[in-house]
Symmetry: D2
Subunit: 361 residues, 4 copies
């Protein structure tokens, strides 16, 4: 059952609300013997952490992770290693600003999950979005750091390829550039332009959407499982589970609908002793199984629904009203979705690596 769990053999279960005492997750099924300490995880959390530039929420959370279980001293070194038992990661909430929540306690913010949580459960923790807050994604990033260790030599990298209506020029793609601007943008020129655009959005109290691309290299051929455990299916599931995501595509994605069969199917040649595809419209997945090429997944994030313009809405009592959503919000939540998308891809790959090993050896 997958209410709050994801994956099968490498399985995460997350818990926690935005303004509760703590958030965290249990990672079950991790192989034993993997070196793991808090600092291995912290670096990835820092990348996702809010408040690092003026383009993300100004909430100040140190996001310090604590490993509560599942690791032990390594007999051979001074370090500690995973033991094969569940790894519980906890991140305490520190900066739950004690503000007045009367604005949203009984009013549904358009574009938020306020209305639907109330319809489903009849109760909701409205402070900071409660369980539906993007704060939950810190748990994913922490789990993703462990997943990266499981998949070993495979690398997973993400980049922001569109902000609002402004895409990158793929000719300028430089992975190193993603570390040099606050947008994880691989195109230095686009990044410079986005800065002005996003300043405008921010100053207007508005928001914008984004498209993220995540790429895995070094994925061996044959990961995945027909028919309902397809690798791309699990990527779609993983990415669509991230807050605010409205679309996912693999390889040529939606553009493939307009291609002819001749253009689309990736031809194959040999390069030395190995097969080499001459293009990658498949995005590294055929029939739900990895081809050995780069796995390429993109997902679209809608604009943050928390904006300063008054919006028409209703209260829990069915009264019509208007609402302005103040507070500390990301003008473009898609920026911080980059490390989250990377984490989810690593988690899917780790799960399928173990699943493949289980069935095929």
């Amino acid at each position: 059952m997958s209410h709050n769990s994801f994956g099968h053999l490498f399985r995460i279960t997350t818990f926690g609300e935005s303004h509760g005492p703590a958030i965290g997750c249990v990672v079950d099924g991790c192989p034993p013997g993997i070196a793991l300490k808090e600092t291995d995880i912290q670096g990835f959390l820092d990348k996702r952490r809010p408040g690092q530039s003026r383009f993300t929420t100004q909430r100040r959370e140190p996001d310090t992770v604590r490993i509560l279980s599942g690791v032990f001293e390594d007999g051979d070194t001074d370090g500690q290693i995973t033991t094969g038992t569940p790894i519980c990661l906890m991140i305490e909430n520190i900066d739950q600003r004690s503000k007045d929540y009367s604005d949203i306690k009984n009013t549904f913010r358009p574009g938020h999950a306020d209305f639907t949580y109330m319809e489903k459960y009849g109760v909701r923790d409205y402070r900071g979005g409660g369980r539906s807050s993007a704060r939950e994604t810190a748990s994913r990033v922490a789990a993703g750091a462990i997943a990266r260790k499981v998949i070993g030599d495979m690398t997973v990298r993400g980049a922001l390829v569109q902000v609002g209506p402004h895409g990158i020029d793929r000719e300028n793609w430089d992975w190193d550039e993603t570390d040099r601007n606050p947008f994880f943008c691989p195109d230095a020129k686009a990044a410079a332009e986005w800065e002005g655009y996003l300043d405008g959005v921010r100053k207007e109290g508005s928001s914008c959407g984004a498209v993220i691309e995540v790429v895995a290299s070094g994925v061996p051929a044959g990961l995945g499982a027909p028919i309902y455990g397809k690798l791309d299916q699990d990527f779609a599931s993983a990415m669509m589970s991230i807050n605010a995501v409205k679309g996912v595509e693999v390889g040529a994605g939606f553009a493939s609908a307009a291609l002819s069969g001749e253009e689309n199917a990736d031809e194959i040649r040999m390069e030395g002793d190995s097969p080499k595809f001459l293009s990658n419209n498949a995005g590294g997945v055929l029939g739900g199984l990895s081809t050995g090429q780069d796995v390429v997944v993109r997902f679209a994030v809608k604009p943050t629904s928390s904006i300063l313009t008054p919006r028409r809405t209703i209260t829990g009592d069915g009264e019509e009203t208007d609402i302005i959503t103040k507070g500390r919000h990301d003008p473009c939540v898609g920026i911080r979705a980059v490390p989250v998308g990377e984490a989810m891809m690593a988690i899917v790959l780790a799960d399928h690596l173990l699943r493949h090993r289980g069935q095929v050896g």
Copy 2:
């Protein structure tokens, strides 16, 4: 574990290869007391059945479904009803043309799963695509017919909204039109134009992609589950599991990335005693839970990889060669994906209806 199963409380497990003795599925968890006979299912299978127009494969399969278990005579009527035990549906393969498969036995067709299945399993049933054949989707459609009965008053309808590069004009949308042309196209004008386009594609031995839109009406608010059982996440998973699908989006989807927060968030007013959203960019899902609006999901299907133009590829022994894929193929596999997409949406809704009832009552 989800190798060949989908869903939790309403769960399907499919089996079978394109040219084996039979395909089918086991539907587990269906509520008892639902009237169900073969003819309830057959109508949907007929809609998906190949060979119904010159635009789909000419393989002639009656696709006659047989219910092997899970139903019994109704004490109150002459009919038969579900008993709450697993329903096994079997469809025998009839028209497995005994052709010479030497072409593909040891050669990987570009764009097909030949290479990846071989990499994973070291063996594959290459006849007609084996397990990776779109023939498996007949099982989904059969299961979907049962799912429709479970979701009762909710309706699920699908339409083809783009063929190759040619989209519809949404101003012309007429659901009734989808029954009047061989494309399930809701725009009569577009359908007429597609006919000529597809004749051209077919005569060239080429193929094209498509975009399908599936809409559910009457979905109560509150279905779905945070965080990893989101309704849209399961739609993404369901649609991406269909053969040849490369992208999925909900509501405004990828276009939402270019919207501002003001444009995107659907405002809410009252209509009588009920909330009414003034737009539906969310596609009926907020925070992973249904809003009560129409659920709108689109997915992109790549062009069929079986084309008559010679393509470069390799053999299982690593020799470079060229291949032409003859046989009985759909020039646009996206057409028959319409009833399949409908079935998958019905299955997701049935599962979540039962899951919601389980947790919330």
Copy 3:
């Protein structure tokens, strides 16, 4: 979800009712490349098949199994091998005697599931017990035959060690003897005595219970998973899922409660390069993980509830009445439970072998 499925990586889903068209199962997750043909399975089904002696039901079912999917010709030999895709096994029901079911249509047989199925579902297929019939166990035996191939060199053997109040003398244990009497009894002397006892039970139209012991040898140390995937936990689950089973124990089992710590804990010495336990009260499992010793599981089967003595009961309308259960029943259903218990142990071991390989490599 486990309504009608068992296992995780090696997972079976069974379907079918006693008097429906067919029963069967889907085996998902089987490794590829394993030689498998119908005759490999048939031998085990024959062992469980009814009507083989006067001590089992006289229903005449050939129990001919048909493999519908998941196998394909082996490239290297003339045989066929598993492909890694789901294997559907179907057994048609032949001898559904078209009798008058008016006796039990609306009357609940004591000790049977008639009452509880009706309470749960409001409908039941009462013919021959429907889904709750021991006929379902044929599917388990068929799946178990595949599981045996997955676990390779491990052997799984079962024996009847008690019939009614009559146990065996363990000093006489001879595995070969289990093939020489109709009870799978490892003690020739006991078997001879049981014959007279069971003839008496049968002639009185009465029934008796039994205890079955299943032993696996060659199980490598380390299979199983703490804390809720313990090997012995899954044996308990597997055996308790068999019809009429009321108790399961591992190793010394219930008797261990009366032992002292000194008596119970199995001491360890070395034998050459390998650890050797000096006793096996643990039954081959410590902390939920296999020790490398023989795995020993016992389970108790209650007496068949179908007897000729009139019993007090009620009808579906709440009227008090008496009932005699005629028909073709096993006087001791525990006999045919031996191959079923073997099958379930093989299935658990196959699942854990793959799970172990998945996590630990």
Copy 4:
């Protein structure tokens, strides 16, 4: 996947080692709107807490539980209620005595999981048994307290019915008595005798086993699911997952093997408008579904393996040696297994209540 999770719709995932920073669990799927505060859980933890009499381990753990998520203020009262999101319960380890573990660091204690964990994972947290410590059962008891709230009017009670070779006299059964002696014994006379017996065992540095009986009343008819989600199957799984348990039985259990069909099958009459069974050999379960009678489950716990008598064993390097297990151990771990068994039964019932509601409504 069930490495460290149990249940489906009401699902627990536990984490933590005996001497790590904390243990705990995530309870997922709990219905919303249930009043829940720490003190509701604490009472049950106190019942299981060590160090409460001289007959249990002298480790001093306050076992203070903290709710980290899944509850929020109730709009209608001053209290707090469940929100339907995952409930994380954390119990910090306080009294991890900083002792010298050199004795067991590299030596396998007979009867313990030391050897098997090492064989499986190649590493183990040997401090206090690590993950295999009975300390994990505190998480079960905490989750069980929530499960009790889910099952509402159903009551779950446990009792110790045998200590070493000494059983109770069922004629003396008095549930109230279980609160008046340190053994949860329902027979005052037996309890008095056990005191002397256990003092002897304790002073010898030996240990003994026990049998626990858990009874649920008020269970509605129809809970459970054929064929692999049987209620008794899940009880068997639940109880066998508890540390040191070697056998589980339902109703007449193993004794039913010696009964005749006439003796065993519980006859049915009407009592007013309701069915009334004239006996309960079934233990409240027929065909895997509850009958509405009391559910009765017994399980056997082996003697604690930690004893002061030297035992033969080996080291991790394959050297033969002797070992004495000192430390703070329960002479009869079966005593504290009573609240654990109650918790597991409540968890199974909660899960099946939600599952039943999901499928049948």
